[in-house]
């Protein structure tokens, strides 16, 4: 139990802060009236109520936990080998991913949302973010370089594909690797000014870089189409056959009646293959000297240099490799939606990708996959939760509050798991065989 005076003080501060924040956002609301004019509505009562709620919550909290959250000292992670079942997690996950379109079919026929929507929003969209997350994971998670402008590489890949396939008539399959390589070159380019910088300065420069890329996309109208963007990007073909409807499609050749889900499922498996490739390449890179140098760079740059590691090329390769995957994601994005515009490459996207990597646990690829699923899938799910209307009244539109709920969820997660969802790090090499629970290597050693 804490001191009442202190608690009152803390609660008063919380209430003031809440009121200060709520006043411009909540207390003043603009609505359009019947003649389409903006009118200002006062809702100071609501702001006061919020402040009162903050006061009460903070007061009770300060009384119960006067010292705030006390984190228990972390016990040495290495002493606890992973549960044996965890070893099957990747295989189970892979099986689920491969079977996803069929699961979607089951969901759809059980009366859920349509199969196209399930595969598109919960399958393809999440996997695009997984691919982006795996790219940023190399730069931020492994090499520890805070890149707040990762979306620039995504944009470069997307516009590169859009231009190559529309203006120059390349096939998607040629545009895809070119997009990756061009994005990687941009990665090298951005890393040049960043090489001599540390921490926060890297964040600022990369942020500015992404903004420059976006502004170029907006203003270079003859090439990029400005705000209107580029449309009619052709969808990928398979061995020269189109996958859509029409006489020269693969389905006509196989004499199967066309259904839109076929093409969508194909796109799903394509982005899944890209994400898996990124996963396995990263896995391999981690056990190579470059990958170890990235992690060493994150841990201590000065120690790296004292061991003869050229930190300039190490940062450069990290940016290039991460940007490559970002470019692939962009290429896929352009081909899948057939349309690119600067609207898709704003700062919010960068923030989303950073959040995925940080929430997942820096450096953990499994974490990236889980965080992408939770964040992208979760916000989509929130849109559809009609049930919340029963709680908050019929005027409640969950889609409007999803960012708020989402932010709240992030704060809670960061308090409970400050190192992210998956905070264990698998060593890139071991001397002893991997310990499992109950194996002799893990039995407590008798004290010497």
């Amino acid at each position: 139990m804490g001191n009442i005076g202190e608690a009152l003080k803390a609660a008063l501060i919380a209430a003031l802060v809440t009121f200060g924040l709520a006043f411009p956002i909540v207390a003043l609301r603009t609505d359009t009236n019947l003649s389409n004019q903006l009118v200002l509505n006062q809702r100071s009562g609501l702001a006061l109520a919020l402040a009162g709620a903050a006061f009460a919550v903070r007061f009770v909290f300060a009384l119960l936990y006067p010292a705030g959250f006390v984190r228990r000292a972390a016990k040495p992670r290495s002493e606890v080998p992973p549960h044996p079942y965890l070893r099957y997690l990747p295989r189970v996950g892979l099986a689920l991913l491969l079977a996803f379109p069929f699961i979607a079919l089951a969901v759809a026929s059980a009366g859920g949302p349509g199969i196209l929507k399930v595969v598109d929003t919960y399958g393809i969209q999440i996997l695009i973010y997984v691919l982006l997350g795996l790219g940023l994971n190399i730069i931020l998670g492994l090499a520890g370089l805070l890149d707040l402008g990762f979306v620039a590489f995504y944009a470069v890949g997307a516009y590169c594909t859009a231009l190559l396939t529309t203006t120059y008539g390349f096939s998607f399959w040629i545009a895809l690797p070119i997009a990756g390589i061009v994005a990687a070159l941009w990665g090298v380019l951005i890393s040049l000014p960043v090489l001599r910088l540390k921490g926060d300065y890297i964040a600022i420069v990369t942020l500015a870089f992404a903004e420059i890329v976006r502004l170029v996309l907006v203003n270079w109208v003859p090439v990029t189409g400005g705000y209107a963007g580029l449309s009619d990007i052709p969808k990928p073909t398979l061995f020269g056959y189109s996958l859509g409807p029409g006489p020269d499609s693969l389905w006509t050749a196989l004499s199967i009646p066309y259904a839109p889900i076929y093409r969508l499922a194909f796109m799903y498996y394509l982005v899944l293959a890209l994400a898996l490739a990124a996963y396995f390449v990263t896995l391999r890179l981690r056990t190579l000297p470059v990958g170890r140098a990235w992690e060493a760079l994150r841990e201590d740059e000065i120690a790296c240099r004292s061991l003869g590691i050229n930190t300039v090329t190490t940062k450069l390769t990290a940016f290039a490799a991460g940007a490559f995957f970002g470019g692939l994601a962009g290429a896929f994005f352009a081909a899948h939606y057939s349309f690119v515009s600067p609207k898709s490459f704003e700062f919010l996207e960068s923030a989303m990708i950073v959040a995925i990597v940080v929430l997942g646990g820096l450096g953990s690829m499994l974490g990236v996959a889980i965080a992408a699923t939770a964040m992208v899938g979760g916000t989509e799910l929130l849109r559809e939760l009609g049930g919340l209307q029963a709680v908050f009244g019929s005027g409640f539109d969950p889609a409007q509050y999803r960012m708020l709920l989402f932010g709240l969820a992030m704060v809670v997660l960061m308090v409970l798991r400050p190192k992210g969802l998956v905070s264990t790090r698998e060593p890139s090499v071991r001397l002893a065989a991997r310990p499992t629970r109950g194996s002799p290597a893990h039995r407590p050693q008798p004290a010497e």
């Binding site: 040495p76 992670r77 290495s78 390449v281 391999r284 890179l285 190579l288 000297p289 470059v290 170890r292 140098a293 992690e295 060493a296 994150r298 841990e299 201590d300 000065i302 120690a303 790296c304 240099r305 004292s306 061991l307 003869g308 590691i309 050229n310 930190t311 390769t317 790090r425 060593p427 890139s428 090499v429 071991r430 001397l431 002893a432």
Partner: protein, 312 residues
């Protein structure tokens, strides 16, 4: 005297200025091949700054730092290289390096000077073994064909990695950390972290090992073990050792050669015996020894019970 007849490192008129502060002033000394050389002096004398100049972390304001692989360097050969605008010779014996012209990572990779830090700098989140593998970056990078061969899983890379693991295992045995190989380095007790940092430096296969206060924070037993370890390392590999040390018992015990600096200038240079009796050294340095020792003992007494648990 080996530092005169067969110098490995020749520091000439080295000065380092930070704004108005002259941390090192016109300092000259030599390190003999195969010697254990101690650089001592009161706090703030500029010892760490000298290390940072030798290892390229600071660009010296003026002066020359020459290192020779192979035969002993002749002053003529060093002068020829100095007049050219090159950093090093290629394919000569002795192979000469002008360290003040080289960036830090090249000094480590090409001139083969390894170092440890006054405040330990391990890769705390990586395992003990990984710390030693990262130290072999240059060799492994070569073997992996700058990652391309490694990505394709070429056999040459796998063989190189096996050899790197063997070397790491050998060093873990030397420093007594074999049973901790797969633990995060940051979770080791303090003394073990010091030993790991030395092992990591040795994994780069150096000709000169620079240790910045390796015995700082160790208790008496651990200091004694450290002297044994350093002697063993020199006997086994022939590496020359340059160390900064405050603990005079360690210094007098293992040094072949002692260089004393105060306010950035050298005040004595010679064998441990001759330096110990030099009146200027006694005035400048040994005069504060009692206080230092008392302070160190207090620190050791505080930490001993906590750190003892899992030692070597």
């Amino acid at each position: 005297m080996r530092w005169q007849s067969e110098p490995l490192l020749v520091v000439d008129h080295l000065s380092m200025r930070f704004g108005g502060l002259v941390a090192v002033k016109d300092l000259s000394f030599q390190v003999g091949r195969g010697d254990i050389t101690a650089l001592i002096g009161p706090n703030g004398a500029g010892k760490t700054t000298v290390f940072n100049c030798i290892t390229g972390f600071y660009k010296a304001t003026s002066g020359r730092i020459a290192l020779a692989h192979g035969a002993a360097a002749t002053p003529d050969a060093v002068d020829v290289l100095t007049r050219s605008d090159r950093r090093r010779t290629y394919g000569k014996n002795p192979e000469l390096f002008l360290l003040e012209r080289m960036p830090d990572h090249e000094i480590a990779a090409q001139a083969r000077v390894a170092r440890t830090f006054q405040n330990i700098r391990l890769f705390p989140g990586m395992t003990v073994l990984e710390n030693l593998i990262v130290a072999q970056h240059k060799t492994l990078m070569h073997a992996s064909g700058w990652s391309i061969g490694g990505l394709l899983g070429l056999a040459t890379y796998r063989a190189a990695e096996r050899k790197a693991l063997e070397l790491a295992r050998a060093w873990l045995e030397v420093v007594g950390l074999l049973d901790r190989a797969d633990h995060p380095a940051g979770e080791l007790p303090y003394g073990a972290q010091r030993r790991l940092e030395i092992a990591r430096a040795m994994c780069t296969n150096p000709v000169l090992l620079c240790l910045d206060e390796p015995a700082a924070g160790l208790n008496n037993r651990e200091s004694a073990e450290l002297t044994k370890l350093l002697r063993g390392i020199r006997a086994q590999t022939g590496v020359s050792i340059l160390l900064i040390e405050h603990d005079m018992s360690v210094v007098m015990d293992i040094s072949d050669h002692v260089v004393v600096i105060e306010y950035g200038t050298k005040i004595a240079d010679g064998t441990a015996e001759s330096v110990k009796n030099d009146p200027r050294v006694i005035a400048a340095y040994l005069g504060v020894e009692d206080e230092d020792l008392a302070a160190a003992d207090r620190v050791n007494a505080d930490r001993a019970p906590a750190e003892e648990g899992r030692g070597s």
